[in-house]
């Protein structure tokens, strides 16, 4: 008996350990902490970029390229894969100097220059500090790049994340200089820009544009749903090198059945319809994964459904559920005003009048509120950004007469009313009635 219990305990312990491992592995995957073995669905782009960077690294050929694709389409992943592969090549390994910049971090050229200098570890860097003024830094960097030549100096890979933001820098000095270096016989550089803007070239000044080589690698996934489904399966499956083969088989089988479940297919289909990018998919799978525990060692279709519900939830409808009856009534009054005046803005006084009319006509459940209370409720709605002031100069007009607009759709209001706990019937009726 003891033995059986002990065995059971050990089993669960093991299982717990495996589940922990599974979560570790899959989380790394979903949180983009580990690069995939091979970028999926972008083989040609991968080859193109790898070739390009390899030529810079090996032949010292200067290049510039833009990787363009919508958010979550795997631009950074592609680049990182290529860099990883590139650095695995033996004679490239110690030969390239990657410089990573991000348009959201390096918000102007001054900061960007310091960062470049720091990452290149030029001689005006002491410790982690870069000395000299902006002008000196620029001159120094340019001088450094100018001194190099194709065959002898190390290629520098400038990776500009959020490339479009660099185009907003003053005079586009940084871009001009980087691209100019890439087009002249100086130290070999590769300028790699990552952006999600398709019109990024139109942002460039014409002299900057002329210096850009006009290579663009587009990452526009034309993934079909079947491929999408396959991808989901491979994303959830455990890798070959999982320690316990039995658990590995069990898990992978369960995933396989999961992906064939009609409910799951429906969920994924609607997700696919909404967006094809992997980031949102990862979010969905992550939510589903977090429901896995030792007592429930597999992902069930309902988990996925629940996760998708969380993902697709309408945030404003949720807010509506938390409103008081008074606030809800005000919202309904606004909805009626919108109907009457065809979306023209309203002010507090109008809403209050509408509300009072309702109270006079059929207020069985709701008693009269004082005006200050109503104003308070109105302000609360404004704070929740369910209504928004239309006037820019708020200070001049009295609160009651500020023009407002409702930031809710009728369908949202109706839906919220349906779900609102213990909503008075007359309020519901009022909301549904055609006339205020």
């Amino acid at each position: 008996m003891d033995n059986i219990i002990r065995k059971y305990l050990i089993m669960t312990l093991f299982k717990y350990g495996y589940i922990f491992q599974v979560q570790m592995i899959l989380r790394e995957r979903f949180c983009h902490q580990r690069l995939p073995e091979k970028p999926v669905g972008m083989e040609s782009q991968h080859k193109h970029l790898l070739e390009l960077l390899r030529r810079t690294a090996v032949h010292g050929e200067s290049n510039s390229v833009l990787i363009v694709g919508p958010r979550g389409s795997g631009k950074t992943m592609l680049l990182n894969c290529v860099l990883r592969e590139l650095l695995e090549v033996k004679d490239v390994n110690k030969n390239v100097l990657p410089v990573h910049l991000n348009g959201l971090l390096q918000t102007d050229d001054r900061i960007a220059l310091k960062e470049i200098t720091r990452q290149l570890n030029l001689e005006n860097v002491v410790g982690d500090k870069v000395f000299g003024s902006f002008a000196e830094n620029l001159a120094f960097l340019l001088e450094a790049l100018k001194k190099g030549d194709r065959s002898s100096s190390r290629p520098v890979l400038f990776i500009l994340d959020e490339f479009d933001l660099f185009a907003h820098h003053k005079n586009q000095t940084l871009l001009y200089n980087l691209l100019d270096v890439s087009q002249s016989a100086q130290a070999p550089v590769a300028v790699i820009g990552l952006t999600c803007r398709l019109d990024v070239l139109e942002l460039l000044e014409k002299r900057v544009k002329s210096r850009f080589s006009h290579r663009q690698i587009h990452l526009l996934s034309s993934l079909s749903f079947i491929q999408y489904l396959d991808n989901v399966r491979s994303q959830l499956s455990l890798p070959q090198d999982f320690p316990d083969t039995k658990f590995y088989d069990e898990w992978n089988d369960s995933i396989k059945t999961l992906c064939e479940d009609q409910l799951v297919v429906d969920v994924l289909q609607s997700h696919y319809n909404s967006s094809k990018d992997f980031r949102s998919l990862h979010l969905l799978l992550m939510l589903a994964l977090s429901r896995v525990s030792a007592s429930k060692p597999a992902i069930k279709p309902t988990d996925l459904l629940e996760a998708s519900r969380v993902c697709m939830v309408d945030s404003k409808a949720n807010i509506l559920h938390g409103l008081s009856i008074l606030e809800l009534c005000l919202i309904i009054a606004m909805k009626h005003l919108n109907d009457i005046y065809e979306g023209e803005p309203f002010n507090f006084q109008m809403v209050h009048n509408e509300f009072k009319k309702f109270l006079q006509r059929k207020s069985h459940s709701i008693h009269n509120f004082d005006k200050p209370v109503v104003i308070k409720a109105f302000e609360h709605l404004q704070q929740l950004e369910l209504i928004k002031s239309m006037d820019s100069s708020t200070a001049k007009i009295q609160k009651e007469y500020q023009l407002m607009k409702l930031l809710l759709d009728h369908s949202q209001i109706m839906e919220a009313l349906q779900k609102y706990p213990q909503c008075p019937t007359d309020v519901k009726q009022w909301a549904m009635s055609a006339f205020g």
């Binding site: 050929e61 030029l122 190390r154 909404s274």
Partner: protein
């Protein structure tokens, strides 16, 4: 400079002869009847008078320049000896390519009358080596048999373009006025090989101008004169002679050294004063001493001759007085005795001849008179009202040097200055004097072996070291000055020291007069010994461990050649522009004038490349000595952070010093408005001119104003993209200075583009003809940007390489490859992006169009579109999405810029517009709908 070192053994002493006969009030110059030259250690004195033919020191020892002396003159201070000459050219000085114009083999002794303008005919008289005999030979007479080697023959004149028959009148006046003296060799043959041209080998001395060094020197003279205030010159009479003799002795230091040593009387004076001012500055004293020693080497007679009567008088006083004070036993009456003594002892001829006298006191004498001279002559300024009582003062001054109280007898002017500071220091000097101590420089020379002297020197060196530590102004380099062996004095490093020490002095005593401050700023650029700043980092990219691989196959080779960065052998299709710019710059460089040129053109039309090519050719030409040398400086408006940084960059490239923008502007202003020695033309390329625009436009103004200055010799080439930039952004005074020398680079036509690619490929057969034509036609139709064209070709080679099964088996780049490359680069990605968008996104786009159609506007709020969207999704049989999701879809499209959105804080009310045409969207969505 180096080659002059060998000749330093010979020193020549120059001295004016006769009374100054002209006093040009305006130029403050005196004319002189003749110039006496003598060689150190030789009694023979050569006299040069105007009208004689002279040899002038050049950079070829065998063939010095020949000229006719027209006039001798000097300035008030007699410091700068100058001469006006008429140049003659040897054939070797005629440019290589023009030599054929002579049409016959030249006579070895033949020279040509120079009619050109490029040479400055004002030279430094101290570069005269001696006289020579020149004989005019009529045109049709044959050359006389080579008789004397010292006779040169003139037959033709040379005006930089052609040889002409020399008008005998030009030669006549000289032959009439001065009887051709037999060329008196100035130097004994062993002493100077320069004096007599021995052999006439075909030496390529292909300088079109007689001698850059001479000219430079001449320039330097005029420059230094300009910087000198006239009033002070006479005060330096004696000193100028000293320095002059020194200069003649050490020719290496000619221009620079003279500039530093002699041209700043004020500084000089202070230099001597500050000897006493701070013991730490003894290096200055050492320097002075060395100069003095140099002089003493020359015969005493020369010295006495050199000094004008009044000068020598005062000096004698000083000499006679000082030994007495320092407790020396020299009899007071023997005026010249100490001088003699010093010279002898230093010459080592008889160091112990006057044994009873302390050796150190001799040296002391050597130091002191020099210091005295100054004082004396300051008192004896011609502007000084009390010139009558100067002798008295002179007598008084030397004494004062040894008593501490200097005030009572100092000229008033002295008092004004920072004398108060110096006073105690002078006291120090006096103390040292009494200890016979300040002789350490001598003690270090090999000559002074005496124990006492060595001991003293040791002690003083210690003191000095201590003081040195406290005085930061004196850099380490100055320490070397304490060892002033003659050799070292002559070494070129000395001039740096002189500079720096002088600067130190000038800085110490700033505020004495305005001249000093001017001098200081002027001098700063030439200061070479900069203290080690923390920012001495050298900009460089680490070098790679594995060398870059060379292109392996034809396609790689083609790709390397097609890269924009590869410098082509020639620049096709820009011949006309090239020629125009070349001519412009060349003429300016030749004339030594300045000018502006504005070049416009869309990007990628070869503006910068053409100018670089021009400069390359000009540089080549100047290497071949066809045109004068020039400096090329390039700045780029895009490569600076602020328009005012242009000054900094120009200055840094000119003089290699880093200063702030304002200071740089001031320095450049000075540089371009003042005449300077050995100034060469500067060609300045300003790329991306429009970025140098400031509100007051002073940067542009200066850039265009400098070339108009007389001494600037600046050629400014400006580049910008727009043709009407001057009219558009420049205010009138700037546009007017830019002038009308404009040039516009047209976009390349398809033929030109094709030619560019073909010439770049240079017989590397990688492309099909048709493929090339397609690329060039396409690019020419769009922009005419050569860079774009090259990039497309490069991409096509890649596609070709990848499409082949094996990289080495890839054939020519075909039409299909080029088409693919063109598609990749030109096709808009919007349509693909729409096709690849998710279903909801596509639906949203359709909703947008539907809403636009409903409204009849090109703009709708998200709310309106969302209603449409919901309807459409019902039609499509899809589950309607929530508003939050809809907003997310909208934002995603906005991030790709398929839609243009308002700020997202407006939430549902944000307005939506299409960034693509409706037709494109419908076209892209069509297959989906089917």
């Amino acid at each position: 400079m180096v080659r002059y070192f060998t000749r330093l053994r010979v020193r020549r002493i120059y001295k004016w002869g006769g009374r100054p006969y002209i006093f040009d009030r305006k130029l403050k110059s005196y004319g002189f009847e003749y110039l006496n030259m003598s060689v150190e250690g030789q009694e023979a004195v050569t006299t040069v008078t105007p009208g004689q033919y002279i040899l002038i020191e050049g950079n070829d020892d065998e063939y010095p320049f020949v000229a006719k002396l027209l006039k001798l003159f000097g300035d008030e201070s007699h410091k700068q000896k100058k001469a006006l000459v008429q140049w003659f050219l040897r054939l070797s000085e005629v440019p290589q390519n023009k030599k054929l114009l002579l049409g016959r083999s030249p006579h070895p002794q033949e020279i040509f009358y120079y009619l050109g303008r490029a040479c400055d005919d004002e030279i430094n008289a101290e570069s005269i080596l001696g006289t020579v005999h020149v004989q005019h030979v009529p045109e049709d007479t044959p050359f006389p048999e080579p008789g004397t080697k010292d006779t040169l023959y003139v037959k033709l004149s040379w005006d930089t373009k052609a040889f002409n028959v020399l008008d005998p009148v030009l030669m006549q006046d000289t032959s009439a006025s001065t009887p051709p003296k037999p060329a008196l060799p100035l130097f004994t043959p062993c002493a100077s090989p320069t004096a007599t041209p021995v052999s006439r080998g075909p030496v390529h001395h292909a300088l079109p101008t007689p001698d850059p060094t001479v000219m430079r020197r001449a320039g330097s003279v005029s420059d230094t004169r300009a910087t000198m205030s006239a009033g002070k010159r006479s005060t330096l009479e004696a000193e100028s002679i000293h320095s002059a003799s020194k200069l003649s002795a050490s020719k290496i230091l000619s221009a620079k050294r003279r500039g530093s040593a002699a041209d700043t009387p004020g500084v000089r004076k202070k230099l001597q004063l500050s000897i006493g001012a701070s013991p730490g500055k003894k290096m200055t004293r050492a320097d002075v001493l060395c100069e003095l020693l140099d002089e003493e080497m020359e015969s005493e007679k020369v010295v006495s001759l050199k000094l004008s009567s009044s000068v020598s008088h005062s000096l004698q006083h000083g000499c006679s007085l000082s030994p007495m004070r320092s407790g020396c036993k020299t009899p007071n009456g023997q005026r010249r005795f100490p001088w003699k003594l010093t010279s002898i002892s230093l010459d080592r001829l008889s160091p112990t001849a006057l044994g009873e006298q302390d050796f150190s006191s001799d040296l002391l004498l050597a130091v002191i008179p020099l210091a005295l001279e100054d004082e004396v002559f300051e008192a004896g300024l011609p502007t000084d009202a009390g010139s009558a009582n100067t002798p008295k003062k002179r007598q008084a001054t030397p004494r004062r040097n040894y008593v501490r109280g200097q005030k009572p007898t100092t000229p008033s002017r002295r008092k004004e200055s920072a004398m108060a500071i110096r006073e105690p220091a002078l006291g120090v000097l006096a103390e040292e004097d009494s200890e016979d101590s300040p002789m350490q420089p001598i003690a270090l020379t090999p000559r002074s072996k005496r124990k006492s002297a060595q001991l003293v020197s040791l002690r003083i060196r210690k003191q000095l070291n201590l003081l040195d530590n406290t005085q930061e102004l004196i850099s380490d380099g100055d320490d070397d000055c304490f060892v002033p062996s003659k050799k070292e004095l002559q070494s070129s490093s000395d001039e740096e020291k002189t500079d720096s020490e002088e600067e130190t002095v000038a800085r110490k005593t700033r505020g004495r007069n305005c001249k000093t401050s001017v001098r200081t700023t002027h001098k700063t650029p030439s200061k070479k010994v900069t203290p080690s700043t923390p920012r001495c980092a050298t900009p460089c990219i680490p070098s790679r461990t594995v060398p870059a691989r060379q292109p392996g196959n034809i396609l790689e080779e083609a790709r390397a050649r097609l890269h924009v960065s590869s410098v082509p052998e020639s620049l096709p299709c820009r011949e006309q522009e090239f020629q125009d710019i070349y001519n412009f710059v060349e003429s300016k460089v030749m004339d030594g004038t300045g000018g502006c040129m504005y070049i416009s053109g869309v990007p990628g039309t070869g503006k910068t490349a053409t100018i670089h090519e021009v400069i390359r050719c000009l540089q080549h030409a100047s290497d071949m000595d066809e045109i004068p040398t020039f400096r090329f400086i390039e700045i780029n408006g895009m490569k600076m952070t602020d328009p005012h940084q242009a000054y900094v960059q120009i200055l840094q490239k000119l003089t290699d010093q880093k200063v702030t923008a304002d200071h740089a502007a001031a320095l450049l202003e000075k540089r371009f408005s003042n005449p300077a020695p050995k100034k060469e033309t500067t060609v300045l390329l300003v790329d991306e001119l429009d970025l140098l625009w400031t509100r007051k436009q002073n940067v542009m103004y200066n850039l265009f104003d400098w070339p108009t200055r007389r001494h600037a010799r600046l050629v400014v080439l400006t580049i910008a993209n727009t043709m009407d930039l001057p009219e558009r952004i420049m205010i009138n005074r700037v546009a007017s200075r830019l002038g009308l020398t404009r040039m516009s680079f047209q976009p390349y036509s398809f033929k030109q583009l094709q030619q560019i690619i073909t010439s770049r490929l240079n017989k590397v057969k990688a492309f099909e003809e048709d493929a090339l034509q397609l690329v060039s036609r396409k690019v020419a139709a769009l922009s005419g940007d050569a860079r774009r064209c090259l990039d497309i070709c490069r991409r096509a080679t890649e596609i070709c390489e990848h499409s082949a099964s094996h990289p080495s088996s890839a054939g020519l780049v075909k039409m299909s490859h080029v088409m693919e490359a063109l598609d990749e680069m030109f096709s808009s990605s919007y349509i693909t992006a729409i096709r690849c968008a998710s279903l909801q996104e596509q639906l949203f786009l359709r909703a947008v169009i539907a809403e636009f159609r409903r409204l009849g506007l090109e703009e709708a709020t998200f709310q309106q579109v969302f209603v449409q969207h919901r309807t459409l999704s019902r039609v499509e049989g899809l589950q309607p999405i929530s508003l939050s999701e809809g907003l997310a879809v909208c934002q995603r499209l906005g991030a790709c810029r398929l839609l243009l959105l308002e700020a997202s804080r407006l939430d549902m009310l944000q307005r939506v517009r299409l960034n693509v045409s409706q037709d494109d969207v419908l076209y892209a969505l069509k297959p989906v709908r089917d």
